[in-house]
Symmetry: C2
Subunit: 165 residues, 2 copies
């Protein structure tokens, strides 16, 4: 923590160091951009009667085939209670079913039913198109640039920060 002892100005709140100001600005625009994007995307999901997490499960199973609940959980980043709850809800609607795992009796697969497969197969293209549209504020080259930067940012941030108490 580099608290460089600059003379405290009693005027307005102490202005942060430039490096911190840059980071704060990025923090704000990152949050706003993500919110603006997901608000658009989720609006189209709500019309289909799916939450973001439900859609994410269907999509994961659609593209990867049956997955263990734990695998889905890690992929869509919900709690263990959450994945049970979500799969229950999708199962009640007949979109997903649990299957035994032959090699581990604790574990269960989640798999799309015919009905679930039909549903996600129908709405995924529109979802992808909505994302393409939502991102159209940037050219493709800019999108790739942003992707690289965000990948780097996200990976670094995901690493447990140095054990500085």
């Amino acid at each position: 923590m580099t608290t460089t002892a600059t003379a405290p100005q009693a005027t307005r709140r102490k202005a942060p160091e430039p490096a911190t100001a840059t980071a704060l600005k990025l923090f704000v625009v990152l949050a706003r951009a993500q919110r603006a994007i997901t608000e658009r995307i989720n609006a189209s999901l709500v019309e289909k009667g799916l939450t973001e997490a439900e859609f994410a499960i269907l999509e994961a199973l659609y593209h990867k085939g049956p997955l263990l609940l734990g695998e889905v959980q890690r992929k869509i980043l919900v709690s263990s209670g959450g994945i049970t709850f979500l799969v229950d809800r999708l199962a009640e609607r007949g979109l997903v079913e649990r299957q035994m795992c032959p090699s581990d009796r604790r574990a269960r697969y989640a798999a799309l039913t015919k009905k679930g497969e039909a549903l996600i197969g129908q709405i995924f293209p529109a979802h992808a198109e909505a994302i393409r549209e939502a991102m159209s504020g940037l050219s493709r080259a800019e999108q790739k640039q942003a992707t690289e930067l965000l990948k780097q940012l996200g990976l670094a941030a995901a690493i447990r920060k140095p054990a500085a108490e």
Copy 2:
């Protein structure tokens, strides 16, 4: 784990167009980066007993002075019921108080109490520092570049999409 390492199903989904694939990738890394960042930041807020929204209110009042509830609401992007609830909760803890608006009897100001001012004044610097650290996966120049791209992306996405369909 060995689920027949061979082709799971021949149902390889139709690959999306390149432009859509680019947008999808950006969508994923944007969500992941934002999540990794806010998870770090929020962890430090939880230690202080504040949610993200509560902190955002305190910060807004700290930097702008008393604000009408509606102004705070629009600034931190919660529902009208949400802002009432949040200000109630902060008021119960003695961090914020409501004040009459002399020119409009419908409206109320939210203002920091001494206690609230002391709290936010104490934790804001650490918060800013946590953000600086969370962003340190990018150089300052890269952060500025990312900020520009995200600003452009966010602004475009926030505009109501053309009323086509």
